[in-house]
């Protein structure tokens, strides 16, 4: 409990914009090549806010900064992709088969917990707005928290965000067992021997001991300073974000054999379909003969924690997390579990309501869609919010470019699937719907959805923690008190040096190394994920959806004090566990 006098002083103190470093002050960019085509990262000048006028349709009032008030300051995480790089349930060899499985392996796979922890650190540093000083109200996470539907991965994510330390190892203690040390895996970066494959030809560094050190590290976390909420992503739903989990894969994930070569991986996958029935048996037998089934499999230490979770277990894991930072369930409630309803709503303040959707297809394919029953629910909710003069934010994993999935459930109730155009059109019918925040494409992208006749909403897509640029962001809702709102998006780099120092195996060092490796991962075309300057630090203007006097200054002040009190309490206990 925070002492009353301390809390009182904190609430009475004048609010000043934070001077914490953000990409407003400093960014990270690639330098010239240092070894063949390999580049290091360096600090670069910051990027000021740029206005986006696509929805307002005109230049804004020049004096709006003198009158504005902050209604909410939020963090936005997405596509965290914490990875258990040693799990047999990951089929890295598929990357050698086709670029369609490019996600199967990355050079920085063992460093994801370190990156997440340092991203949480950045969020803590940015917990007061650098624009208005407003305290952060909540963090919204839009899915792909775990990379491989692995229970241990999910626990690592929840623990790190909650401020609990983790050791990112499964299987044998202190020893990495995986493709990045196996000779036949000539499709991944091997830090002990990069010259085994193309990574060496491109100048990737030799870093002896990196893998064992990375998986053995006690990764601490300062914890999220605010309550946080989450939605599903396709990687939380489907194997490799694409394929429905089969019982045979469950057995492999917790078993003692891991595939190192693509024929073996492919055989593993074909084996699943064969166990489901005889439809594919003839095909499987023919292909196995050609592939050489027995080669390319290594023995590894099994680990029951690698169990692949299902929807119920995903929600239950969030319900099991502590009350602080909270909320318990992070959007999901016991009612969600009982009804198996994977979408939810929560009030972040008396005047701001958020809707967490599940756009993931449970059957097949990385793309998303909205089932009809979920859209019907959302429409009812948006109507209620509009009548109550509440601003609404929708959060989901998929974005408007990636919602064309048509795969329908093979069994059980089947709902029509609603795709992007209809979904956007539906959202646009509600003026109080000010923003749709999402992820999935691992890129910074801001898309305007103007309506004919005026108004509309902003779609804000943030990058990921796993692929370059490894950025997340904050979103602040500002009432300009002139009939317009501004949403300020501020991109965050994780709290680690731009340049990795050779031999720095600290937590921050590993996060820095991860970013550097990611920036050189040519197959991911990393620079295309940065977005343009109009997709990063921006002021997104729009007409106010209703007379903003309905939201009184007293309500705003009360909400702000509640958020500030939480941050004061957080600072009081902020010692890494």
């Amino acid at each position: 409990m925070v002492p009353t006098d301390l809390l009182g002083r904190a609430l009475a103190a004048p609010i000043k914009p934070s001077e914490a470093p953000s990409t407003l002050l400093q960014t990270i960019r690639q330098s010239q090549t240092v070894n063949k085509s390999y580049r290091l990262l360096v600090n670069a000048p910051g990027e000021p806010y740029l206005p986006r006028l696509d929805i307002l349709g005109k230049e804004p009032a020049a004096d709006r900064a003198t009158k504005r008030r902050s209604l909410a300051y939020l963090g936005h995480f997405s596509d965290i992709h914490v990875i258990d790089a040693q799990s047999p349930g990951r089929l890295e060899p598929l990357i050698a088969l086709t670029a369609e499985f490019i996600d199967a392996s990355r050079p920085q796979d063992t460093l994801t917990t370190q990156v997440l922890s340092q991203m949480v650190s950045s969020l803590n540093i940015a917990k007061h707005s650098s624009l208005t000083g407003a305290p952060m109200t909540a963090m919204l996470s839009t899915g792909d928290n775990a990379d491989s539907r692995n229970s241990t991965e999910l626990n690592w994510v929840i623990n790190i965000i909650d401020g609990v330390s983790v050791t990112p190892n499964t299987g044998k203690a202190g020893v990495y067992e995986g493709v990045q040390v196996w000779d036949e895996a000539t499709y991944v970066y091997q830090p002990g021997n990069p010259n085994i494959d193309e990574y060496g030809a491109r100048g990737f560094p030799q870093i002896p001991g990196m893998l064992n050190a990375a998986v053995s590290q006690n990764v601490t976390s300062v914890g999220c300073p605010t309550p946080w909420y989450t939605t599903y992503g396709n990687h939380d739903t489907l194997f490799m974000g694409n394929i429905q989990v089969q019982p045979a894969l469950q057995a492999w994930a917790v078993g003692s054999r891991k595939a190192a070569s693509w024929p073996a991986a492919t055989s593993n996958m074909l084996n699943w379909w064969a166990t489901e029935g005889s439809v594919f048996q003839q095909f499987v037998n023919q292909v196995r003969t050609g592939l050489g089934f027995a080669n390319g499999i290594h023995d590894v230490t099994p680990d029951a924690g690698r169990k692949l979770f299902d929807q119920k277990e995903f929600m239950q894991a969030h319900l099991a997390s502590p009350a602080t930072p909270g909320p318990v369930g992070h959007g999901f409630t016991q009612a969600n579990v009982d009804a198996m309803q994977t979408y939810w709503t929560a009030d972040l303040s008396p005047y701001l309501r958020v809707f967490g959707l599940d756009t993931c297809n449970q059957v097949d394919g990385a793309d998303g869609a909205i089932p009809q029953d979920q859209l019907d629910w959302l429409v009812t909710q948006l109507n209620e919010a509009q009548k109550a003069n509440k601003l609404a934010i929708v959060m989901s994993h998929h974005n408007s470019y990636t919602m064309e999935n048509i795969a329908a459930p093979a069994i059980g109730p089947s709902q029509p699937l609603i795709h992007a155009d209809q979904f956007v059109s539906t959202l646009g019918q509600y003026p109080n719907m000010i923003a749709w925040i999402n992820g999935h494409t691992h890129s910074n992208t801001i898309t305007a959805h103007p309506k004919a006749g005026g108004g509309g909403f902003w779609e804000i897509t943030t990058a990921s923690c796993v692929d370059y640029p490894q950025q997340q962001q904050t979103v602040e809702v500002i009432d300009n008190r002139d009939g317009t709102l501004s949403l300020f998006t501020t991109v965050l780099d994780h709290d680690s040096p731009a340049a990795w120092t050779n031999g720095d195996f600290s937590q921050r060092g590993f996060a820095s190394l991860s970013r550097e490796l990611a920036s050189n991962s040519w197959a991911f075309r990393p620079m295309t994920l940065m977005g343009s300057v109009l997709d990063r630090n921006c002021e997104l203007l729009m007409p106010a959806p209703f007379d903003m006097k309905h939201i009184t200054d007293a309500e705003v002040e009360k909400a702000k004090n509640a958020a500030q009190a939480r941050l004061v309490a957080y600072d009081q206990k902020a010692v890494p566990q």
Partner: protein, 131 residues
């Protein structure tokens, strides 16, 4: 069901037609943005380049240019947006075919040319720090 199902999704629009082919070593600048080695120009890259030019020339943008590739000729790209007073912003590319590591773009605002030249140097200026 095809186990090698195409990934329609997560980054199809950003990655473009990526093909894994034997990769030639290059320290050239186009590596930075992946136009080398079998990669190709795409809408996201072109949009970013257009925006970089416009912002650099302090053009107030009313509607961010949206880029599309021609359905009949994959070398042709067009972007359309608006400047502050409603002037059309138009970017055209006619050599954006796959494998061309040095495409060119032409940008006009209200019919007046504001840029005509290579795309790669524009992006490198934004993405790479020369020390």
């Amino acid at each position: 069901m095809n186990v090698f199902r195409s990934r329609t999704s997560r980054r199809a629009w950003a990655v473009g037609a990526l093909v894994l082919t034997p990769l030639a070593l290059a320290g050239c600048a186009s590596e930075v943005i992946g136009l080398a080695s079998g990669g190709s120009l795409n809408e996201a890259i072109l949009s970013a380049a257009t925006v970089d030019v416009l912002v650099g020339q302090k053009v107030t943008i009313l509607a961010k240019p949206v880029c599309v590739v021609s359905t009949t000729n994959p070398a042709d790209y067009t972007c359309n947006g608006k400047a502050a007073k409603g002037e059309p912003i138009v970017t055209t590319v006619t050599d954006g075919q796959s494998g061309n590591t040095n495409p060119h773009m032409s940008i006009t605002v209200g019919g007046t040319s504001v840029y005509q030249g290579e795309i790669v140097p524009v992006l490198n200026n934004a993405m790479v720090v020369t020390q």
